[in-house]
């Protein structure tokens, strides 16, 4: 079925898709925040003070990274109610994105920390810095600049993972585009619009990351 691209139809569905894009952005931002927190907790299990949690932490990370996001979404949405925990679609989405990407974020934290030279740790020990002060004033600030590109990557990957949330009826961009398509049998406009929206959001996120990176480069000088 070869249809020409209809501008009037595009304008007609634009508000609906913009609302979907808004939900996509919120899901990504919320999922990203959840991933930062869950990632920090998983990362903490790899540190010496929490070594009794090392094994369970490792196991959880393996499971999260080795199973598809869609299955994790289904487990949260369709199986958890069987044990008495019912989550709304959007909450399911945020938790699933947070868990799945949190496992990768934990790895990014670990990589950023391993970036800190051994000699810095010697100095922290020699100066007798308490753990918390050392982390806050010396270790964490040095983790930031290697973290920025990795987390930027996570954000954009997560943005492109949000269509999976359509599977549990989160009214995000892809869900709305698909609704339009299946109701009107016109796919070219909603899909083009959706693709452009993802592209635009990705580009904005990428330039934001670039901006932060160049800001960080001029610091400490």
């Amino acid at each position: 079925m070869n249809q020409p691209f209809s501008l009037s139809f595009t304008l007609e569905i634009l508000p609906l898709l913009l609302r979907g894009a808004g939900v996509t952005f919120l899901a990504t931002a919320g999922g990203f925040l959840a991933a930062l927190i869950i990632g920090a907790m998983l990362f903490a299990t790899t540190l010496r003070p929490f070594k009794m949690l090392a094994l369970p932490g490792r196991a959880i990370m393996e499971v999260l990274r080795s199973t598809p996001l869609l299955i994790q979404v289904y487990i949260l949405f369709f199986i958890l109610p069987n044990v008495g925990l019912t989550l709304s679609p959007i909450v399911t989405g945020l938790i699933a994105l947070g868990l799945y990407h949190g496992a990768y974020v934990a790895e990014a934290y670990r990589a950023a920390m391993s970036h800190i030279p051994r000699t810095q740790w010697d100095t922290i020990e020699a100066l007798r810095f308490p753990r918390r002060a050392a982390f806050r004033h010396v270790v964490f600030p040095q983790m930031v600049s290697p973290l920025v590109p990795a987390l930027g990557n996570t954000f954009i990957t997560m943005l492109k993972d949000t269509p999976i949330l359509a599977a549990v009826t989160v009214p995000e961009l892809m869900f709305e585009a698909n609704e339009v398509g299946s109701q009107t049998f016109r796919y070219i406009e909603p899909m083009t619009l959706a693709a452009l929206s993802y592209l635009l959001m990705s580009l904005i996120a990428a330039s934001f990351v670039f901006l932060i990176e160049s800001r960080l480069r001029v610091r400490f000088q």
Binding site: Q120, D122, A126, L127, P130, A133, A134
Partner: protein, 256 residues
């Protein structure tokens, strides 16, 4: 004088490499000692052991009359309490070859960090203390600069001020001037020399730069293969070495 550092029959291995074996060594309070010798002779290991960064496999290390390491008594890195290490490390300050300043903090913040977070001084008092110490090492005008913008000699002087800010009884210098451009050695050496005039401060310097050892030390120890082969006052050891390994080492470094 009383003994402030004492190694008693110390053995230390890294994997299959034995660095120290039945090692005995003592430093008196207020003494300035330089340890010279070829690389891999175990010099740096001695300093790292005194600082509490490395433990020992056998024997005992005492600092200021208290046992720092003794594997037979549960005093190893894996088994000693944080409190014990904290207490023992308080006696010692260390300056490293690669300066090791915190790159995210200014010179003043690097020096103030210890007084603030370790000694618990207020931010204001800690900063005042840092500025005073930076003035002593001749860096008042660089206080608000980040390490990456300072020369090696300036960075090392900040590192010395940072270690002194915690008021140690013992200062350790691990090849502190070895990574510097030759023309910057003097400015760091001047700071070290002024520290060496403090009567109560014990100083142990590890170096392969004979000039640095000569300028600072009351006693020079020549070390090779994990053992001290010869020790004497600088004039004696450097001019009239008794051991032929010492003589060979001195000849070799004079040639370079």
């Amino acid at each position: 004088m009383s003994t402030i550092i004492s190694f008693q029959g110390v053995s230390k291995r890294f994997g299959t490499t034995t660095v120290l074996e039945g090692f005995d060594f003592a430093v008196e309070r207020g003494e300035k000692v330089a340890i010279i010798g070829p690389s891999g002779s175990g010099k740096s290991t001695i300093l790292r052991t005194i600082m509490g960064l490395e433990d020992v496999d056998a024997g005992r290390v005492l600092v200021d009359g208290e046992t720092l390491w003794n594997p037979e008594d549960g005093l190893t890195k894996a088994t000693a309490s944080r409190k014990h290490l904290h207490h023992m490390r308080a006696k010692v300050g260390m300056v490293f070859q690669s300066f090791n300043l915190f790159p995210n903090l200014t010179a003043a913040e690097n020096v103030a960090a210890g007084p603030r977070h370790v000694l618990g001084l207020s931010k204001h008092t800690a900063t005042e203390k840092a500025l005073k110490l930076l003035a002593q090492v001749g860096l008042s005008d660089q206080a608000n600069k980040y390490p990456s913008t300072l020369s090696g000699g300036q960075q090392q002087r900040v590192a010395i001020a940072r270690a002194m800010a915690l008021e140690p009884q013992i200062m350790l210098f691990d090849e502190a001037t070895s990574a510097l451009d030759p023309e910057k050695v003097g400015e760091v050496l001047d700071v070290m020399r002024s520290l060496s005039r403090e009567r109560d401060l014990t100083i142990v310097v590890v170096t392969h730069q004979i000039g640095v050892a000569r300028a600072l030390a009351d006693r020079i120890c020549f070390m090779e293969g994990g053992r001290i082969l010869e020790q004497a006052a600088p004039a004696i050891l450097l001019e009239h070495p008794q051991n032929q390994r010492t003589a060979a080492f001195l000849r070799a470094v004079h040639l370079t």
